[in-house]
Every structure is written in C-alpha cells, then in structure tokens.
Amino acid sequence: MTDALRVENVEGGYEPGLPILRGASLAVAPGEIVALLGPNGAGKSTLVKAAAGLVPVWSGRVVLGGRDITGVPAHRMVHEGLGFVPQTENVFANLSVLENLQLAAALIAKPRRRPLAEMFALFPDLDRQRRLTAGRLSGGQRQMLAVARALVASPAVLMLDEPSAGLSPKLVGVVFERLKAVRDTGVTILLVEQNVKAALAIADRAVVLVEGRERLEGRAADLADDPRMAALYLGAAAEAH
C-alpha cells in the first residue's frame, strides 16, 4: 500500500550550511497516528515544517500519497492534501472563530471543502464560541480551532506540532481524544510531541528523531516500555551537558 506520507533522506535547515535535518526519513501509513518524538533540538518541528514547505529542503524528498511534493510552496500544500497545525500562534487571533474557518473554506476548491457544520459537530465548544475573537479562546479551544481550520480543507495527512504545549494534563487528554476522533474520520496524523506518555497513548507507531535523523521506530505500545527510548533521551541530555 502507498504510504500516506513519506519523508526520504531529507536534509534541510533555516540557514545554509547549518543543517538541522541530516538525512531524516519516516513513513506514515494511511489511517495511522504516528508520533514523532525526540529530545529538544532533535529537529522534530523542523521536519514537519520542512514537509509543510516552511523550511527549505536541500536534498531528499517529501512524498504525499505517491506524489512528490518537495518544494511545493507552503500555501499550495492545503491543495495537495497536507494540513499543518503549528505549535504556537496557530489561529488568527484577530479573526473570529467563524472567520478563521470561513477563510480556510474560501481558500479551498469546493470538492475538497468540508462543511463548517461538520467542524462544529466535531468540536461543539467552537460552535458555542463562533462569534468570539479567536485571541480570546482558552488554550484548549485554540487547539481545537487550529485543528478544525486545517480539517476544513479535507487533508489526507494532518501534521501537528506539539498540540499539548501549554495545556493542562486534563486538556491534553481532551485534545488527544478529539485527535482520535479526527483519525476516525479518515485523516492520517503525524504528531510531533514532547509529552511522550500522552503521545504514545494515542499513537499507533512512533519515530524517535535525534540530531536530525531517525534513531528508533516501532509500535507505540512497544516503545512505551523500550529502554532504548530513555537512553536516546538521556543520551541527548548527557551530550548537551
């Protein structure tokens, strides 16, 4: 079966000559939730940003459902079927909840556009706040809106950069439950996380990135108890000191 998303030997970074990604590879099968884990500075966020077209890819390929999307401009990615939810400032704080979703809907061709009613059914909290300026939403509601905004374009693959950042443990549980519901609607998910426990609890598989390369990969349930996980995290911490 064709992978929903495949990253092949990607090298890239923000500044020429200073690579963050050093030949990173991973594959996500259709319908999977894959957690992308790793210590601070491993290049997890850079990898999803590179796939989303926000960070230059110097070599290697990003393949979405069999189509090479390397170098496609970031604003075209929604049309290719790749959604991305950044870690911070992931909603338009000066627009209302409804305007955030209307903008996403207006930018996508009708056949791909998911009705906003579907989004409000998936995230009832947003329905109650639809006229509120997004900047006034709580942290959890903002994450829901950010996910809903990305889902409006019917992405085949949705990438999220640390959706648990800044949320209370209870809210992390709520957001991750919603992500499972999103997956159940047929969306493949690649999830960058620092919260290893929470991520492994909802993921099918996980990939551990260290220094811009994947170092460990396996079923989430297996990796939760794998001593190599701790070694990779602690090793990176020890090197940092």
């Binding site: 970031a74 990615m77 992931n90 338009f92 305007e99 930018l107």
Partner: protein, 306 residues
C-alpha cells in the same frame, strides 16, 4: 468655527485616504513606507496626463462641468486611470526594490522607501516641472449651508462636499472588503501571522500585491482630491507625509479605522489651530494632539499592540 470644522474635514479626507494606504502597508509588509506621499503626488499628476488623454480622445478638448462641480466626467475617468497607473507604479517599485529586501530587516526597507520617495519626487518634477497644475480653471461659488450668525456660518463648495462624501464611501467600501471578503480576511490573516496564513492556504505574495494596489490607488485618489480642492505641485505628497504618519500612528498603526479617525483628527486639529496660533504652526498642533493621545493610549486610538 463651523467653517474651520468643514475645512478640517476636507483636509482630513485627503490625509485619511493616504494614511489608510500607509497603515495597510505597515501591517502587511511590516515597514513604514516613506514613499506613500509620493504615490499621492504621482496619482495627482498621472490624472493630469490621463485627463489630457481623455479630452484628446473624446475630441472636444474642453471639459464641461458636471452639475454643480468644477470638473466634468472626464476627470472621473482620468482619476480611475490614474489610480490604476499608480497601483502599477507601486507594484513596479515593489518588484524592483522592496521584494528583494523583504528577507532583510525592516529598517532596510524603511531606508529604501526614503530612496524610492526621493527618486519618485525628482522624476515627477523632471517630467511635469515645478509650476502648479490644475484640473480645471472653473471658479466655484461656495454654497452657504449655515447662516453667518450661527457659529460663524458655513460655506462650502460642491467639490469639497464631494471629497468628504467620496472619502467616507471609499472607507466604508474598504471596511466591507476587509471584513466581508476572502481577500480582506486573507489580508487580515497575513497581517496577523504570515507563516500561519501560508499554511492555511493564503498566497501571501498575492496579498502583498493586493495591498500595494489598494494602498496606491487610495493614495492616487487622495492626490486627485488634493488637486481638486487645491493645486497640484511636486511637493504635494511630501508635505502631507508627516500628517499621514501622525494620522496612522494616532489611530493605531495597522488599524484602518484608526487611520481614518486619525486623518480627520489631524485635519481638524490643523484647521482649528489656525486662528489660535497662526497658519505657520498648524502642523505642530497636529503633533501636540498626537503626543497627547499617545500619552493616554500608547498604542493609538484603535491599536491593539504597542
């Protein structure tokens, strides 16, 4: 008193139109464009050329006044042509200059805009000369709206009334564009967070082009309005530059409503100051108002961020 208010509203209309372009480029391109005043000058002069062209094409060579106004329909066409040409000029300046510097820091863009302003001003002087130009030599009789014994009375020309009315209509149209259309929402989204706008599917390069087009077209209309109620001179835009900045900052830089309110406040302050401190110090009074408002509201009247 009423007369001063009316004069202030006319000047304020021209300032408001120019300040809106300034605030739009600031919020979306993230730099203070010192060339905005020159787009007003170019708009005014391009309308002179466009008017000559329209009059030549229509054969008559003479402009019959339209109703109570001092100008004919040909100036309306010329103004639209000038707005389109000024927008094209702004796109050309962006393509030649600003586009290459966008990845650098904002101060580089600001200094570049100084250079662009200087070049544009000298070019207009080279092409059109330094003598004042007029769209029409028709003498307009001001209409008395309020008798002399009520607050000093009010006389205003139909041209001045049209300038105030059209400015308000244009500002309303712009507000509707920004709040009710996809382009407007995309512009607001890009102003808020360009990277997020791109991942949400907004073609931010197209938004930047639209911003130049709208800002320069409004500046051109402001320049034509300034020419209708006064003279067309190469320093027209340069002399309005400081009031434009005062209006945009006073209203809250980045806010369209703020730029409009700021434009009218600066226009009224300048006008009302004349009998108190004399015409030489009118610009200083606008800045005193600016300082006063910023002391109470550092982000400006409608500004959200400091």
């Amino acid at each position: 008193m009423l007369q001063l208010v009316a004069d202030g509203l006319v000047v304020g209309s021209v300032i408001a139109l120019g300040a809106v372009g300034l605030t739009l480029t600031y919020s979306i391109l993230r730099f203070a464009n010192f060339g905005q005043g020159e787009f007003m000058t170019w708009g005014a002069y391009l309308a002179v050329s466009a008017l000559a062209f329209v009059l030549a094409v229509t054969g008559g060579g003479v402009m019959e006044p339209l109703g109570p106004f001092s100008f004919g329909w040909q100036l309306v066409v010329a103004m639209l042509l000038a707005a389109a040409l000024t927008a094209a000029l702004a796109l050309a300046v962006d393509w030649l200059l600003f586009r290459r510097l966008r990845r650098g820091n904002a101060i580089t863009l600001v200094i570049a805009s100084f250079g662009a302003a200087l070049a544009l001003r000298n070019l207009v002087q080279f092409l059109y000369g330094t003598l004042p130009e007029y769209y029409t030599r028709e003498i307009q009789i001001a209409v008395r709206l309020v008798p002399r014994d009520v607050l000093g009375g009010l006389r205003i020309t139909p041209d001045q009334m049209l300038v105030i009315g059209l400015t308000l209509a244009l500002m309303l149209a712009l507000q509707l564009l920004l709040t009710r259309t996809t382009l407007g929402r995309a512009m607001r989204a890009t102003a808020m967070n360009p990277a997020l706008a791109r991942v949400a599917g907004v073609d931010t390069d197209a938004v930047i082009r639209a911003t130049w087009v709208i800002g320069a077209a409004l500046a051109a209309v402001a320049g034509v309005f300034a020419g209708i109620v006064g003279q067309i001179r190469p320093m027209l835009g340069f002399e309005l530059l400081l009031p434009l900045f005062a209006a945009a900052i006073l209203g809250g830089i980045g806010s369209v409503r703020g730029a409009v309110a700021g434009g009218y406040i600066v226009g009224l302050a300048e006008s009302l100051a004349v009998p108190l401190v004399g015409a030489e110090y009118r610009a200083a009074v606008a800045f005193l108002v600016l300082i006063g408002i910023l002391m109470i509201r550092p982000a400006g009247l409608f500004g959200e961020r400091a």
